[in-house]
């Protein structure tokens, strides 16, 4: 399998002195669903932003290895609070990433149709964001990411602010979309069950300065994940790992 995201000895620092994380080596394979959990302040969201080239690395490199295609973007990001532009209708929010790349109006319309269908909001193209519920907004946030047909989807706690029922529904929708589109996904969450439920692999970010201190391969078939014995066992393993990391962090302070 081909590696699509590759970071080597990556460090980020906000003040140019103390690194948030350091020596971070990460390789994500094409089509892989990787979830990232960790001590708060370890720089989970920051890592996504360095990969998306929104923040410059302090040290080290990020390599994105995806085929060049003028009609697509290599990376798209889904944010914690959907962050739709309130002055754009749903349709124009979805096409945000298509403005500035050489996409015809027909293809734009086709992408809007396709992504709205994927997130199950076919009739919502002409709504304003204020007319949507929290869950619907986040679905449009996902549609906006998918509309550029990215190879890589970076997701920053996208379901963190939603109620449990909506969250579960969106997790299953996301898995469905992932299976259908074969995107590579790096998904940050603070919810361990969510990380184990969604990921092929769960990465644990911890220590000071942070780096990846552990990684868990989730070998359970996705259909049997929710509430199965093996699933709960994996969740316990990750939870113990995170607790250990938090204990180390509090001993530091």
């Amino acid at each position: 399998m081909a590696t699509v995201i590759h970071t080597e000895d990556l460090a980020v620092s906000f003040d140019g002195v103390t690194p948030v994380f350091e020596g971070l080596n990460l390789a994500i394979e094409k089509g892989e669903f990787v979830t990232l959990v960790g001590v708060s302040g370890a720089g989970k969201s920051t890592l996504l932003r360095v990969i998306a080239d929104l923040i410059a690395p302090f040290r080290g490199t990020v390599r994105i290895d995806t085929p060049d295609d003028p009609l697509r973007r290599a990376i798209a990001m889904v944010f914690q609070a959907a962050n739709l532009m309130p002055w754009r209708r749903v349709r124009e929010n979805i096409t945000l990433g298509l403005e500035g790349i050489d996409v015809s109006d027909e293809l734009k319309a086709e992408r809007v149709r396709w992504t709205l269908e994927l997130v199950g909001l076919t009739d919502y193209a002409d709504r304003w964001p204020y007319q949507l519920s929290g869950g619907q907004r986040q679905r449009i946030g996902i549609a906006r990411g998918l509309a550029v047909d990215p190879d890589i989807l970076l997701m920053d706690e996208p379901f963190g602010a939603l109620d449990a029922i909506t969250r579960n529904a969106l997790q299953d929708e996301l898995l469905h979309i992932w299976e259908e589109t074969g995107k590579s996904i790096l998904f940050v969450t603070h919810d361990i069950e969510e990380a184990v439920y969604l990921g092929d692999r769960v990465l644990l970010l911890g220590d000071e300065p942070a780096h990846i201190i552990n990684e868990y391969h989730i070998g359970i078939d996705r259909a049997e994940r929710r509430e199965s014995e093996a699933f709960l066992h994996e969740v316990e393993k990750v939870r113990a790992g995170l607790k250990h990391a938090i204990d180390i962090a509090s001993n530091h302070n």
């Binding site: 929104l54 973007r73 798209a76 990001m77 532009m85 002055w87 906006r144």
Partner: protein
Amino acid sequence: MKPTKRYLLSAVGLAGFLLLWEAIAQSGLIEAHLLPPPSTLPATFISEVRLGIWQEMVWASLSHYTVGFLLGSLFGVTLGVSVALYPRVEASQAWLARVFRPIPPLAWIPFAIIWFGISETAAAFIISIGIFWINYFTAMTAVQAVDKDLIEVARAFGHRSMIALLRKVILPGAAPGILSGLRAGLGQGWMTVVAAELFGIPGIGQRMIEASGLLASEVVVLYMFSIALLYGVSDYIFVRIQSRLLEWQR
């Protein structure tokens, strides 16, 4: 309160005020030239229109006002936005703004006359000053208040140049604030238009000072109401445009 009841009460309030005024003026307690009864206004209006004075003065004031409004708004919004975007621009003008801001528009009248003479340009200049400051501050605040997360979203989706960010996020995000500044300027402009013309620049203000010299107080009142009408109409049109532009807000 129901809207119909609201309208009714507002109308009753205005009618009551006019009736009271008419009654006091008619009672002879106050001389007519000190307080002309409102019933004289229609006849005064017709006579001013027949003489062509009303149209001429309104047109003259409207043109000073329009030029002053456009100039003041353009410069105010542009500078306010730049100051909010570029710390260097902000720093270089910070003390200048502190020095010039407290100077009221009317304090510029002497210089307006020295520089431009008793001219249309002088009136437009004075009007533009007050409008400039209002727009400068509201545009600056509005741009500073634009959601940083939305700027990040735009960057994440490939809009990275300042021009692209302005078009996709900053200006639409600041639009509610900028529009409310423009609206405030619309009112401020009418306040200074009259004062700017009191010094002999042709327009409503000049006609008012002329009429007061002749003790034709009903003419003064007529033009006072004309200003109220002009402001009311321009504000109404502006609000219609504003609510069209801000349809996305609720």
